[in-house]
């Protein structure tokens, strides 16, 4: 196994463990075991725990941006947003069981001081910005586009929190349907195709 492989397998293991068992609750030993790497070796790849966390959020961000490329190929901004909301569907069970990995990380990172919070929030910021651009392309003024983006992400995160709390996917499903309906009947005035 090459060096890069071990590094990324550590990052991946950390990523899913943070998601499933929580950020504060996951130890270096847990991560090393999951990645089948001896404990001490972890410190060869990451000088400190914080470094590993940073790598995990960067990995998350890269993943989100990669998936976005797919939707960006669609012709109309409305379709792009609908594709985004559609993509929630297949994560419903995972989110119900373990919550949103990004949301959890943001919340937990915000509690314990330091700059971990800033790293984690980058994913949300990137998502909001992408949505804002889509709503702008639909013809909404910037302020409205921002508000719509905030609504979309906020409603999504809220529904995930409820489903996770009650271990009941209903809240997520309900919100997906509501958001689709909302996007579908937003005034189409001035909608611009992708140039």
């Amino acid at each position: 196994m090459a060096v890069a492989d071990k590094r990324t397998s550590l990052v991946r293991a950390a990523d899913t463990l943070f998601h499933h068992t929580g950020f504060e609750h996951t130890s270096i030993a847990d991560i090393a075991a999951a990645a089948k790497v001896p404990v001490g070796n972890v410190y060869y790849y990451f000088k400190t725990r914080t470094d590993l966390v940073k790598a995990v959020t960067e990995h998350r961000l890269a993943g989100v941006e990669a998936r976005r490329a797919e939707w960006d190929s669609l012709a109309s901004p409305r379709d792009r947003l609908l594709a985004y909301v559609d993509s929630f569907e297949k994560h419903t069970e995972d989110m119900t069981a373990h919550g949103c990995p990004v949301g959890s990380l943001c919340l937990e990172a915000n509690k314990q001081g330091g700059d971990a919070a800033k790293e984690a929030s980058a994913v949300f910021r990137s998502s909001l910005e992408w949505m804002r651009i889509q709503f702008r392309a639909m013809g909404f003024p910037d302020k409205v586009a921002r508000a719509h983006a905030a609504r979309l992400l906020g409603a999504r995160q809220g529904s995930v929190l409820l489903s996770n709390t009650f271990k009941d996917p209903t809240y997520i499903r309900l919100e997906i349907a509501r958001l689709k309906g909302w996007l579908g009947k937003l005034p189409p005035a001035g909608e611009r195709k992708k140039s």
Copy 2:
């Protein structure tokens, strides 16, 4: 200081510490110090950490129900819901700085197994049930009333998460305005006064 006083001052200290510095991140020593009680003494009042957590959520639930009594005195269900949403206003800064205490607790409790999660979710459950009753009284069928309750709580929690993540109260303020507008223009058909 009477026995009950020390007990409740421990609970109160734990409550605010969980909120401000996080659930996993708060130690018994921290709580004891904040309540000005010697560490070992804590175990006289609470056999284990989990017992303390349980007491904290019960304290939260009691607080929420007490505040609700105020709104329940209003004549129309719509006014009761509007009063509820209005009450968000004065917590905006606190929520932006530290997140929603109930939401955080639910999320963190869900990660680390055990039954802490069930305790924490009781507050959300109680809120949802109260909202459902209000929407029912406005004349909505039960299924719709549940969906509306979920939307209200979900949108609230989502906006708090965003504001907390970005340390920017705008998201909460935006959502309060949006929810007020929504409640204001919901069809008034068959609205029933409080009997």
